[in-house]
């Protein structure tokens, strides 16, 4: 990184955004909601985006990817969300799983998995959260132990997205030694059809084609090469995947917020009561202007986080990614809420497609890391305050 900050994106990044926006617009929110409400998946859009290399933008070129960075992948995620087609598994499969394997995987693991990520033909879920540990990797109960050359996985995870659509799940588990002592966590690639691995959908009040799952691992036997990277690499590898996740989650939120803001402003310009478009009233205009500013600030921070990450500054990227994720979630929840308010009763009518976003926008404050955990992070790491847990 040089000292000069570039506030405009490259010609290529802008061309990528335009191309992805065109593709997303052809599908549109109607497609997305129909899939969500009929139990379908956004398979066609995912496949087409994959074929065009949009899902593999950040995979290294030698494995068939675009050789770009997380900033490119985040642009794809944001543009699709801005057309009403947020693809949740983009946050997980190409962002966390492909990144971790590309950075820490063995040559064989890269050969095995990265070409599929490059084309979007491989989907991998990510499993860290547990009922008694949240996403605190120090407290995870899921364990992995050696048995000859194999690994044996035991435990469970919950709120894991898209397991039913995935070829495999990247599971965070802690090593246990012969004495049952829990050691460092590692990342294990677990095929979804592995014997002993079962998963159950969690009923959610959210309009999304992607489902949430509880996962159970009962003596799941895995080959030696299921472990990504070195057995003693510990948390560093996991955090390397979580920064892209936060940047992607932020982009998912800013995209959704843009979609809602576009709808709200179009409505405020055209909906006329007593001869005046409602957008002429400051009671309508000012809150929307606030949303626009909040949104733009969140986008700026997201771009900063992506630029730092792509420049290899993991530590600075960690702080920026957390701040971006927080800001984007708040912008998204506030903008969807305001867009509904601007629409009055129409804001809840199915035809306008905003009510369907209400829970989804609210989720952005909770997942993949909650607002409170980010506040903890900033308090502890940025402000050097005593840790609270």
């Amino acid at each position: 990184m040089t000292d000069t900050v570039n506030y405009t994106e490259s010609v290529e990044r802008r061309a990528l955004r335009a191309a992805v926006a065109d593709l997303g617009a052809r599908y549109g929110q109607r497609y997305f909601l129909d899939k969500a409400r009929t139990g379908g998946k956004t398979t066609e859009l995912w496949a087409e985006a994959g074929k065009l290399g949009y899902l593999g933008v950040a995979v290294p070129e030698e494995f068939g990817g675009g050789g770009g960075g997380i900033g490119d992948l985040a642009a794809v995620c944001e543009e699709l969300a801005a057309t009403g087609c947020p693809l949740l598994l983009m946050v997980v499969s190409p962002a966390i799983c492909a990144t971790v394997i590309a950075r820490f995987g063995t040559d064989e693991q890269k050969q095995r998995w990265l070409p599929g990520f490059a084309e979007g033909t491989t989907t991998m879920a990510f499993a860290i959260t547990e009922p008694d540990a949240g996403s605190n990797a120090h407290e995870l109960a899921t364990s992995v132990r050696r048995d000859g050359t194999d690994w044996v996985l035991n435990g469970g995870k919950y709120y894991i997205s898209g397991v039913d659509e995935a070829d495999a799940v990247l599971v965070v588990a802690r090593h246990v030694d012969e004495n049952g002592q829990r050691l460092l966590p590692s990342l294990m690639i677990v095929p979804t059809d592995a014997p002993g691995f079962t998963f159950q959908p969690i009923e959610m009040d959210i309009v999304s084609p992607e489902k949430q799952f509880t996962c159970f691992f009962d003596d799941v036997r895995l080959p030696s090469d299921a472990l990504v990277g070195a057995p003693d690499a510990g948390l560093a590898q996991i955090f390397a995947g979580l920064n892209p996740e936060r940047i992607m989650a932020a982009s998912f939120s800013t995209g959704m917020a843009r979609f809602a803001l576009d709808k709200a402003t179009a409505y405020a310009r055209t909906r006329s009561v007593w001869g005046t478009p409602i957008g002429a009233h400051q009671g309508i205009a000012h809150p929307l202007a606030q949303c626009a500013m909040q949104l733009e600030l969140a986008r700026l921070m997201t771009q900063k986080a992506a630029a730092l990450y792509d420049a290899g500054q993991d530590k600075a990227a960690g702080e920026a990614a957390n701040i971006a994720k927080y800001a984007a979630a708040e912008a998204c929840a506030a903008t969807v809420d305001q867009a509904i308010q601007v629409h009055g009763g129409n804001g809840i009518a199915s035809e306008y497609g905003l009510g369907a976003l209400l829970t989804a926008s609210r989720v952005s404050r909770i997942a993949p890391v909650s607002r409170e955990m980010i506040l903890n992070f900033v308090a502890q790491h940025t402000l050097k305050l005593p840790r609270s847990y």
């Binding site: 010609v11 290529e12 061309a15 990528l16 191309a19 065109d22 593709l23 074929k51 065009l52 290399g53 949009y54 593999g56 933008v57 675009g66 050789g67 770009g68 490119d72």
Partner: protein
């Protein structure tokens, strides 16, 4: 099979398009500029023919510096190289001058088998360039087609009109213009976008093409625009109160307009 595709940067049809007060030429600053959609189809058709028959696809654009964005989009779709004719003297060129410039520029490409254009740009709407160009190049014109095939040294095409479909044939080289029914253009892939900046774009001036600046632009135009006024806003239309026979009244109206 070497193909030249004519592309044009136009104001986005979704934005408000205006003429300048000074000389009634297009106000390019007032609207977002995009690659004309019909040109995306022309590029798509060229790429399909290239996939089947090999050769090179060259994109040719005449327009201000900013037209590089439209050229880049065509290159990101997969065209091999580009020629950009850019010269302040071209400002205000009519279709005759434009065709002259394009013909000269096509002459700089070796071994051209086919020139593909959109049937009509969304800004000028003259729809005359492909025909004039064919005349200037002394090539057969196969215009307004919805389907193109190459069979040896013959181009076969289908032209759909209100009266029916004409099946056309011409010997290569030829000029073809396509309608919006020809195909669905591809999206630029990420690799295509990244590769576009490395592709060769030759920028040529009017002098480079051996033309006299007086022959082109506003001064060289055979006609001039004296006055222009925006279209009046739509009138309120006819309001039908439905007191039970609303359907019949709508049908009557449509019959009156010869729509049903």
């Amino acid at each position: 099979m070497n193909i030249v595709v004519l592309v044009k940067q136009v104001p986005d049809t979704w934005s408000e398009r205006k003429l300048t007060d000074a000389d009634h030429t297009l106000d390019r600053e007032s609207a977002d500029a995009v690659l004309d959609e019909i040109n995306e189809r022309a590029v798509e058709e060229a790429l399909k023919l290239q996939e089947a028959h090999g050769g090179e696809v060259t994109v040719l654009a005449m327009g201000p510096d900013r037209a590089t964005e439209a050229i880049r989009k065509a290159l990101s779709m997969g065209a091999d190289k580009a020629i950009h004719v850019s010269d302040a003297a071209l400002h205000g060129s009519d279709v005759l001058a434009t065709a002259k410039v394009l013909a000269k520029a096509i002459g700089t490409v070796e071994g051209v088998d086919l020139v593909i254009a959109g049937n009509e740009a969304t800004d000028g709407r003259a729809g005359a360039i492909p025909a004039i160009l064919a005349e200037l190049l002394g090539l057969p014109q196969v215009t307004q087609v919805r389907k193109v095939e190459i069979d040896g040294t013959t181009v076969k095409a289908e032209r759909e009109t209100e009266e029916g479909v004409a099946f056309l044939e011409a010997t290569l080289p030829a000029v073809v213009s396509v309608t919006e029914k020809i195909n669905e253009p591809r999206y630029p892939s990420f690799k295509g976008i990244m590769a576009a900046k490395k592709k060769k774009v030759d920028t040529l001036s009017v002098a480079d093409l051996g033309l006299d600046p007086a022959e082109v632009g506003l001064t060289g135009a055979w006609s001039s625009v004296l006055e222009a006024a925006p279209k009046p806003p739509r009138s309120a239309g006819q309001r039908v109160e439905d007191d039970g026979n609303g359907g019949a009244q709508i049908a009557e109206y449509l019959v009156g307009q010869k729509l049903i």
